[in-house]
């Protein structure tokens, strides 16, 4: 690594770390204060009583029903594309299974793309289906997190707030303004923002080239700020219209972290224990940085299989060294590592390089990020998952202080454990079984483009991404078949809502409980030992659950590389 790399890393991370507490404080202000008159007007317009308090069941029901509606709306727009306006190219509709897959993908904040945007979607579909679902998907995640916070901020309460106010406040006061501002910067940097569909360029070689354009900049800012990840173009962040300059690459990195890294601080402010927020932030940052370090190390490693070929793998005046396959030369290894680590860790799923060309240890990091899905995780739901892990870790080890386990004054009892365990079961079940089934069924195997551990990883990666609502694809696997389109679509919906509902119930159970005052015998969770406990539990748990696939995928490929074995 050269000085330039360090400057890039320190700048990007430095700004993220500086902004996170400020944004966290701002979010807390949004949710602690009264309604704005603008919001009141909106509620009156649509007939919502913003002060109506919901039980967790009602909250969950409203969340499910509204998302079902969002899903149906997105589905219809995509399905009716040929008859809707703004389709001068007369693009046909997506196939039914792909329409289902896409609507499921975007309503769950996954943004898995089994279609190629520039070739298959009209500008109206990009705006009304894709952009719309990107907004509501991210907003739903945020609202559910705010509801889960109520489990800790309330004592002896039957209710956990109002879904609509939780939804609207973030949208009006943070999400929309931020997206608007960033969209302007993307336009300034060269991203198109137009209702035109194509422009014709005259190339130096002579023949004209048709370039697809549209409302790219607005989708682009939303894609990162909402940890969505779905691109306007198939090449996603590697496309020059989506990510024109190193500045936009850095900005997109910052946008992904802006809200996600601020969530622990937001939590700390909401529960009135800022230190607790800092402690969670440090835990998240530790996992995040460890992941980045391993990716950077792995990508800088020369490939032993290429040692005898005339490939320059050492750092030299003309080469960055290491594994440059599938990387944008504009960004190089460090920017790609940093971007990919963030995009996976924050479940954005946008990519600015070819994941399939990454070294196996990098893939290992991506997979672990998606298994944990909490460092920092997607908009809202990631941090909610972290709170669940904290509850389980404290229950398990907390007994060792000689008291019934407590977290932030809430006693952890059988109901909490039942709900947290239920939420925890979903990931192993979906990822392991769907991967296993696909490896056995002909319709699963026929899509595989690679043999051996690499092919295995591609399938594992797809289902890990679907479950984690991540949306990044390793590629190398043909997922536009009906089998994968439907299975992944179902997985994204289950991976989103199955773990979320028990967490809302958990919030309901915690809110009902009285907050227990701390004593000298209570284990304090705002200190370094808690970080050790939390990280230890998370890593141990992920290792125990996913050791077999990690061994047969990335580890096996890495060892094979070292032994010069190919498949």
């Amino acid at each position: 690594m050269i000085a330039n790399d360090w400057i890039q890393i320190l700048f990007s991370l430095g700004v993220t770390v500086l902004l996170a507490p400020l944004v966290g404080r701002y979010l807390a202000w949004i949710y602690k204060g009264p309604h704005l008159s603008l919001e009141r007007g909106f509620y009156r317009l649509v007939g919502i009583n913003p002060d109506h308090e919901m039980t967790w069941k009602e909250y969950g029901a409203v969340l499910l029903v509204s998302n079902a509606f969002f899903f149906a709306a997105g589905f219809l727009v995509l399905w009716a594309q040929p008859v809707l306006p703004l389709n001068p190219r007369n693009l046909p509709p997506l196939s039914p299974e792909l329409t289902f897959n896409t609507a499921a993908s975007f309503v769950t904040n996954t943004n898995w793309q089994a279609y190629a945007g520039e070739a298959q979607l009209s500008n109206l579909s990009q705006m009304l289906a894709i952009t719309f679902l990107m907004f509501v998907g991210a907003n739903t995640g945020m609202a559910s997190l705010v509801a889960i916070f109520k489990g800790f901020t309330r004592s002896g309460s039957q209710t956990i707030g109002n879904f609509w106010t939780d939804f609207v406040r973030f949208f009006i006061r943070a999400f929309l303004p931020a997206c608007f501002l960033m969209a302007l910067i993307h336009v300034y940097q060269g991203s198109p923002q137009t209702l035109r569909t194509q422009i014709t360029a005259h190339t130096l070689e002579g023949p004209p080239q048709t370039l697809i354009v549209g409302p790219v900049a607005s989708l682009e800012s939303l894609k990162h700020l909402g940890t969505n990840g779905g691109g306007f173009y198939n090449a996603n962040g590697a496309h020059p219209y989506e990510n024109p300059t190193p500045l936009t690459n850095t900005l997109e990195f910052l946008e992904m972290g802006l809200f996600t890294f601020s969530l622990p601080f937001f939590f700390g402010r909401m529960i009135g224990r800022p230190r607790q927020g800092q402690v969670f932030f440090i835990a998240i940052l530790t996992l995040y940085l460890s992941g980045f370090a391993l990716i950077e190390y792995s990508e800088r490693m020369p490939n032993p299989l290429l040692a005898h070929a005339s490939v320059e793998q050492q750092v030299g005046p003309l080469s960055d060294g290491g594994n440059t396959e599938g990387k944008e030369t504009r960004f190089g290894i460090t920017q790609t590592s940093l971007f990919s680590n963030t995009t996976i860790a924050a479940t954005t799923g946008a990519v600015d390089g070819a994941m399939d060309s990454m070294n196996p240890l990098s893939i290992l990091v991506y997979l672990v990020h998606m298994f944990l899905n909490e460092e920092p995780g997607g908009k809202g739901v990631g941090f909610a998952g972290l709170l669940k892990e904290a509850i389980l870790a404290i229950f398990l080890a907390g007994l060792m202080v000689g008291r019934s386990p407590e977290f932030l004054g809430k006693r952890i009892e059988s109901r909490e454990i039942k709900l947290a365990s239920l939420s925890l079961l979903v990931t192993p079940l979906l990822v392991l079984w769907l991967t296993g089934i696909s490896l056995l069924l002909p319709s699963g195997k026929s899509s595989m483009g690679n043999p051996g551990p690499h092919g295995f990883m591609e399938v594992l990666y797809a289902f890990s991404s679907g479950n984690a609502n991540n949306g990044s694809a390793m590629a190398g696997l043909n997922v536009s078949t009906p089998y994968y389109a439907i299975l992944l679509g179902v997985e994204m919906l289950l991976g989103r809502f199955l773990p979320l509902l028990p967490l809302l119930a958990l919030a309901g159970a915690l809110a009902r409980k009285k907050t227990h005052p701390e004593t000298a015998g209570t284990f304090k969770t705002d200190q370094p030992l808690f970080i050790v406990l939390l990280l230890g539990f998370m890593i141990l748990f992920a290792a125990l659950t996913f050791f077999p696939p990690l061994m047969l995928g990335p580890l096996l490929e890495h060892l094979s590389l070292l032994h010069g074995i190919s498949f």
Binding site: S404, W433, P517, G521, T522
Partner: protein, 669 residues
């Protein structure tokens, strides 16, 4: 009498038999984790039989795994059986003391001699000097000095009498002097000891809330590992390996938390048993466990913090009165006074000056509620002692400033000022002081470090209460308390989310005892108190609650420590079994065999043997409990995480390697 852990050959044999009886599937189903092992054992046994029929090469391996799976369940059952037997033996050792007694049943036609075990509830019987009390009951009439050494080990006899707060008698104790009429308070077979035996015997044993939560987590983990193992055949088939059901079952059993699931019942029973060894009979396992959680401990001042009575510590003569005159007058006034306070004045006076020959014609004047004074009329004049205001009335005028100052200084220090006057002239003040039991300060300090706030409840005025609370090292006090105030205090603290513990013996304590989260009733107390509390202390020592708190904490720590240990163990088992499963297809995975176990067969066998043997290896720890030290929650967690978390990761690597070496030496592979 500290009861020792009873552990002998006889018990081992009995526990072994019991652990085979407990293989009953209905019994196993109560423990979901061990039930999964049970299914695995049956399946591997069937596979072994099938290998035998088909002369398969797998026979030896499958049989070995099957045998060790059965042993895993056996060891877990053994742990539970051993804990049950121990508890039962403790209780039976008590019951034997009252096996064959006769009782004098009171009937309308006089008393009839019947065997003690035929007494029914609400029967009345008479016990005379030298006889053993046949069963638990409450004294209706009479007073007796009773030797309770059979149950408490305390040789000094205790007084039990009708009507007061010390009217309870226990079966098996002996009346040394006096005659009492007693009413039976329990149905036959429902005395505290009987309940205790039921509690450890499993019939009525209920899982505590915490145990239930932990069991749910263990089921969750079992399900996750079931998902993991069930996905392996697909992964193997992709790698071109045929997966062996025996290996998959072995891996599943190694991964699911068998260690803690096997020891969980034993830990709970051992907790109740440890309380019992401290002479505390818990009515439920939950009671002991909750004791570890309490935030506030309410303690009565009298009898708990201080000895029941005040002691004279100082004479403060009034101006112009010699100390000798005051002492002599106090001595004379107190000689006829049989109260402990009076006796202590006599004792203190005699240590100060030589006193002898009280005048023969002295007439004792007893204390009356009207005068609120007592004293003596001697030929030299009348001597009176009493509270300041009573003497003031007697003297008929205000005290001199210096005397008033003496009175208030005594009150300020937490003492009781007793003014002595002769011929209506005040001589001075005797300082009566509450004497705090020795060693309490250290115990309260220990409680503070555990996070328990101690609150003294007393009828004294706030000034006195504060002084005593400070001297005894209590965190807080509640002065001028009436019995019903205690109840309000408990409710108020519970409202704030705190758990409250208290001790009590009187009938008027019963409602508070029922309200408190942890209530330790004194065995000497009334039946109502004993019914309301959730624990009974046979020694009737109010400070015993501190020991109970520690036992509760120890119980929770042991549970947490063994759970952590059990789950941390899985890392090594993965490293033993997974490379063994896939190394034939992918030789490059050999590097993951970091223990360099000899062969795939020896690796898997070693892991399953370790998994089985760790259960009996941890039985002593489960029964004895992890040591609790009040060093603060974080320090304690750090220490236990290092021992049971990190240790749990490292120990199986060593254990599995050693077993593998042994297997190689035995030419097993």
């Amino acid at each position: 009498m500290k009861k020792k852990v009873i552990l002998d050959k006889q018990m081992m044999i009995e526990a072994t038999v019991q652990s085979i009886v407990m293989l009953n599937p209905f019994k196993l189903a109560k423990n979901p984790v061990m039930f999964v092992v049970g299914i695995g054992s049956v399946l591997t046994t069937l596979m072994a039989i099938s290998s035998l029929i088909h002369h398969s090469t797998e026979l030896f391996f499958t049989t070995t795994i099957s045998v060790w799976l059965w042993l895993t369940i056996g060891f877990a059952n053994f742990a539970e059986a051993l804990a049950e037997l121990q508890g039962k033996a403790q209780a039976l050792s008590l019951r034997s003391t009252r096996a064959e007694t006769t009782a004098s049943l009171v009937t309308p036609r006089g008393t009839v001699k019947i065997p003690g075990n035929q007494l029914k509830r609400e029967d009345q019987f008479i016990v005379e000097e030298g006889n053993v009390i046949p069963t638990d009951g409450e004294i209706l009439e009479g007073v007796a000095s009773i030797d309770e050494s059979a149950i408490t080990g305390e040789s000094a006899p205790v007084i039990r009498e009708a009507g007061g707060d010390r009217s309870g008698v226990t079966g098996g104790t002996r009346v040394l002097a006096g005659k009492i009429r007693v009413m039976v308070t329990n149905k036959p077979g429902e005395t505290f000891l009987d309940r205790m035996i039921d509690l450890v015997e499993g019939a009525t044993r209920q899982k505590s809330p915490n145990e239930i939560a932990l069991t749910i987590l263990l089921i969750g983990l079992t399900l996750i590992f079931l998902f993991v193992v069930a996905s392996l055949p697909a992964f193997s088939s992709y790698s071109g390996i045929k997966s062996s059901p025996t290996i998959l079952i072995a891996l599943l059993v190694c991964l699911i938390p068998t260690t803690i699931a096997g020891l969980l019942p034993a830990i709970g029973i051992a907790g109740i048993d440890r309380a019992f060894r401290a002479n505390v009979i818990a009515k439920s396992g939950k009671a002991v466990e909750v004791a570890g959680d309490i935030d506030i401990l309410l303690l009565d001042k009298t009898g708990t913090i201080t000895f029941g009575n005040r002691q004279a510590v100082q004479f403060l003569p009034a101006k112009g009165v010699s100390e000798e005159d005051l002492i002599r007058a106090s001595w004379l006034a107190s000689l006829p006074d049989g109260t402990p306070e009076g006796k202590s004045i006599v004792r203190l006076a005699e240590t100060h000056i030589r006193l002898s020959n009280p005048p023969a014609e002295a007439i004792p004047i007893p204390f009356t509620p009207e005068t609120r004074m007592s004293g003596v009329d001697t030929p030299d004049g009348e001597i009176r002692k009493g509270a300041g205001d009573a003497i003031q009335t007697y003297v008929g005028g205000p005290f001199s400033p210096d005397l008033s100052e003496s009175i208030s200084s005594v009150a300020r220090s937490g003492g009781t000022p007793l003014v002595v006057a002769m011929n209506r002239k005040p001589l001075g003040v005797v300082h009566l002081k509450d004497v705090i039991k020795p060693g309490l300060k250290e115990r309260f300090e220990r409680l503070r470090k555990m996070g328990v706030t101690t609150v003294m409840v007393t009828g004294d005025n706030p000034l006195t209460a504060r002084a005593i609370a400070e001297e005894a090292g209590l965190d807080d006090y509640f002065a001028q308390a009436k019995p019903e105030d205690k109840m309000a205090l408990i409710k108020k603290e519970q409202e704030k989310g705190r758990l409250v513990a208290m001790t009590g013996d009187g009938t008027n304590d019963a409602p508070s005892l029922a309200q408190a989260d942890v209530a330790l009733a004194m065995n000497s107390g009334t039946q109502a108190a004993k019914e309301a509390g959730n624990m009974v202390d046979l020694d009737s020592d109010p400070t015993k609650i501190i020991e109970v708190v520690e036992i509760g904490k120890q119980l929770l720590i042991t549970r947490g420590a063994l759970t952590t240990f059990s789950i941390a163990n899985d890392v090594a088992k993965y490293f033993a079994i997974l490379p063994a499963m896939f190394v034939t297809a992918y030789p490059q995975l050999k590097i993951l065999n970091i223990m360099s176990l000899a062969t795939p067969v020896s690796a898997i066998t070693s892991a399953i043997i370790f998994n089985a043997l760790i259960i009996p290896a941890l039985i002593p720890l489960a029964l004895k409990g992890v040591r609790y030290r009040p060093i603060g929650a974080s320090a304690l967690l750090r220490e236990n995480l290092l021992i049971y978390g990190l240790g749990g990761i490292i120990v199986p690597f060593i254990g599995i390697k050693l077993i593998d070496i042994a297997l190689v030496l035995l030419h097993f592979t």
